[in-house]
Symmetry: C2
Subunit: 503 residues, 2 copies
């Protein structure tokens, strides 16, 4: 019997035909997977992967034997039976990411996931050597989520006279730009995308797949703006049939869902807002594996109201602290500031933050017990597509190494069990988290001349701590010492202090 | 017929006796005041102002004729009748301050009150020339509220070997330190305090009268620590009988109500917390004129939970923005950060902020649509009582003139109608308020290199504004110009921008 790793991917390939029907119009077949020991049944949908080839993918979540049986109105795809043994996950396979402890994320095996994303919208369509650079950059700095668009991206504006547009080598639909046939798919485009998701999985990176977006200046391709609701649902069903069994997938319904015009005032998507609730409910109902689902908005619009289909809040705003805390309180879900204004050199606010601002914003998000995503927009006329935010490549800003250092600190904490220590936070120069009296973490963006921090209660309680002090800008530990609750630390700009209670 | 200014003070003096009873044990008499036109009746309590002298004070709130009649179980104080004509308030008399528009304060005549307080706990007991300096300093910088203790203050600690203690020339009770008779009062002490409240009233300053406090190191006087609940109620009744008719009075139940030990760990008030709810309800029920009531806590304790008797939240914390917004949301009442750590030079956090931190914190409170109080603690061995925070005198920090400039900007706005403009706020370098699209105010603590602020909606709406730009650190206007919604301002550290929509 075949064996499949837990949270790995079982794939059933069937030759067959759809009796002359368009095999992309609907799911050509489905299969019920029974976990024999528990009796749990899970339904998964198959898809047509090109002329005469049908596939179905399944991600087993329990150890032990699974059996399956297909059903289809096409005789050649109906009644196929089989089974496999789900065996323990390999060393680097922690399963899909789930919401944990209300405001956090953990892998299915229980390992906490300190989400630290970056952004590379259209990296999947770039040549192999650029993709290799992209993957190397993500790994080098520990980014473990990438926001990436499924559809091609054409963003004009913000780059002066420099044309950064890029025509992908192929399209998701048959036809040509401005005249695509949305009732059929181009499996090769999807296959490339899946391989990129697998590339990320191999490196432990979550693929935050953005399903719709408004970046199609002049309706060059006419994809997002051309699809009607039935087209949208058909596309989602097909994509989800192909991708849901990849454990590292997250669904982001849209990027900047409320953008309807580009910076020149031209309409870029159909003025009627999509039925995001209908699409969100569809995704939730048709994903057998419960991947995270969000929707992302523009900073000038409104953050999407809470919905049952939203697993977490994805927002975009330079305020990574006060607003993030408000959103946590309002939604009771994890909050990720997926765009706090990228490090970069362009004229527009969204891509001209310096490294200090970038690193401070990311630290602030963590000090609000939340999460954030990095991005980078260094544009130059000489190399007009060497912009990580859009096309991937090599990161060259000053923030990534500092974010990697930051992440190493948070991954070494029981971050999910820590809360804002409001008493030792001014929201201005310093911020603190604590876990009762067992553990404190303070971040000082600016030095506190003459100030000290008074951890713990003021009732005379005594406790001893092992203190570690870092310079988080220069990415180095600057001291370790044993202290009591009222030690006066020398605190400079970018100092972080961790206190771990001694027995 | 006598005439009394609206929100002025009518005073009835009666000679009489209490038939041998202690005249301080209870209200010796009361009077019902009838506003003849409306028929409104208000009851006010009298008090004994020393041997054979009884008084009753009343603040009329309506124009027109009032008549009154006393009642007492003491024949000489019973059945006294009279009346007066309430005439329009004088130019600088705007009436008592009330909560307005949920999160704000206005005078009774409708004039908004942008509360900007300072702190001079024990200034009332100091010699005349020092009091004159105190009043001149408050007026020079536009401080319009003073936090001040009724009982004498003895704070030891935080000043090294320098003894800053001060023995007041008299006490509120007969007896001597450690052995006061709480069943009687020393009218002279109260009279002095009232004259100081009147001094403030004459300058348009609200007297935030703190009724109890823990600053009596070593139980030197044993007042706060010595009174039982009946003593506390008797004291409140007497003080309120004397002070309620002063229109500029606010009641603060306590300063740092949850402090029970001094910085050396010595008990400074009775370990049993006072019955603050009982005291708060008593104050509310016995103040005929509805002055603001708050209670103030220490930064390491808890902010007092919401209660019907609380008119507003008085808290103490270096976070004047995020926490202030949270408290507004939690209480639905005005929030005043009455102690954000004073400008000063002592070792302790509470009194060693530099002017930049002080001014930034005060600006932040206003950008959260809230309020704050300043304080100053410059201590020197040469002049051990020249510490404004404790004893008044002359302000000499760098923040007051900047706060005065800040206040002038806010008083020129419809501040009560403005809300946080979250879209144009990062909570880090810049903050904005707006009133729809009619008016914007942005404060930039730090310059935004290359960034611009995008006011208004992003839907192509056009509007023209008159912009005023200030350097709020150097207290000067640096430009006026007409702009549209997407003007890129040159923004440096401490820039503030006001946009007023043009017709």
């Amino acid at each position: 019997m075949r064996s499949v790793e837990r949270w790995g991917r079982f794939e059933l390939e069937l030759g067959g035909n759809s009796g002359g029907e368009n095999p992309y119009l609907d799911s050509p077949f489905e299969a019920a997977f029974i976990h024999e020991e528990s009796g749990t049944a899970t339904l998964a949908a198959g898809f047509c992967d090109g002329e005469g080839v049908f596939r179905l993918r399944f991600m087993p979540e329990r150890l032990g034997r699974y059996s399956y049986r297909t059903s289809s109105r096409h005789r050649s795809l109906d009644g196929v039976e089989g089974g496999f043994e789900c065996v323990p996950a390999g060393k680097d396979n922690h399963g899909p990411v789930r919401v944990a402890k209300r405001f956090h994320f953990s892998y299915a095996d229980g390992k906490p996931c300190f989400v630290m994303g970056s952004t590379a919208y259209a990296w999947t369509c770039r040549p192999r050597e650029v993709r290799a650079q992209t993957l190397a950059s993500l790994s080098a700095y520990g980014f473990n989520k990438v926001r990436m668009l499924f559809f091609p991206k054409r963003y004009i504006g913000s780059f002066g006279d420099v044309d950064i547009s890029y025509e992908p080598p192929e399209y998701p639909f048959p036809g040509e730009p401005g005249a695509f046939d949305f009732t059929r798919f181009n499996p090769s485009y999807f296959r490339n995308f899946e391989e990129r998701v697998q590339d990320l999985m191999d490196r432990g990176v979550e693929a935050d797949v953005i399903l719709f977006h408004p970046y199609d200046s002049d309706r060059h391709w006419g994809i997002d703006s051309g699809m009607n609701h039935a087209d949208q649902i058909r596309y989602l069903r097909y994509l989800m049939g192909r991708l849901s069994a990849y454990r590292n997938v997250w669904w982001s319904l849209a990027n900047e869902y409320d953008v309807t015009t580009d910076s020149g005032g031209r309409t870029v998507i159909t003025p009627e807002a999509k039925d995001w609730d209908g699409l969100g409910e569809f995704v939730r109902a048709n994903d057998p594996f419960g991947h995270p689902i969000s929707i992302h908005n523009i900073p000038f619009g409104w953050i999407y109201p809470d919905r049952p289909w939203l697993s977490h809040v994805s927002y975009q705003h330079p305020d990574t602290y006060t607003l993030l805390l408000e959103l946590k309180a309002r939604y009771g879900k994890p909050v990720v500031d997926d765009e706090y204004q990228y490090e970069g050199n362009i004229r527009d606010n969204w891509g001209n933050s310096d490294a200090e601002t970038t690193v401070e914003r990311h630290w602030r998000s963590a000090m609000a017990s939340g999460y954030a995503s990095h991005g980078e927009v260094f544009a130059s006329p000489e190399n007009r597509r060497d912009i990580f935010w859009a096309y991937g490549g090599t990161l060259r800003g000053q923030s990534p190494e500092r974010l990697a250092f930051m992440k190493s600190i948070f991954e070494d904490l029981p971050f999910q069990d820590m809360e804002r220590d409001a008493l030792n936070t001014d929201g201005q120069n310093y911020f603190s988290l604590h876990k009762g009296m067992d553990l404190y973490l303070s971040f000082f963006r600016r030095g506190l001349t003459g100030k000290d921090i008074w951890y713990g209660p003021r009732d005379g309680t005594e406790a001893r701590y092992s203190a570690t002090i870092w310079d988080v800008w220069n990415c180095r530990e600057i001291g370790r010492l044993e202290v009591g609750l009222r030690h006066r630390f020398e605190v400079g700009d970018w100092t972080a202090i961790r206190l771990v209670r001694l027995e």
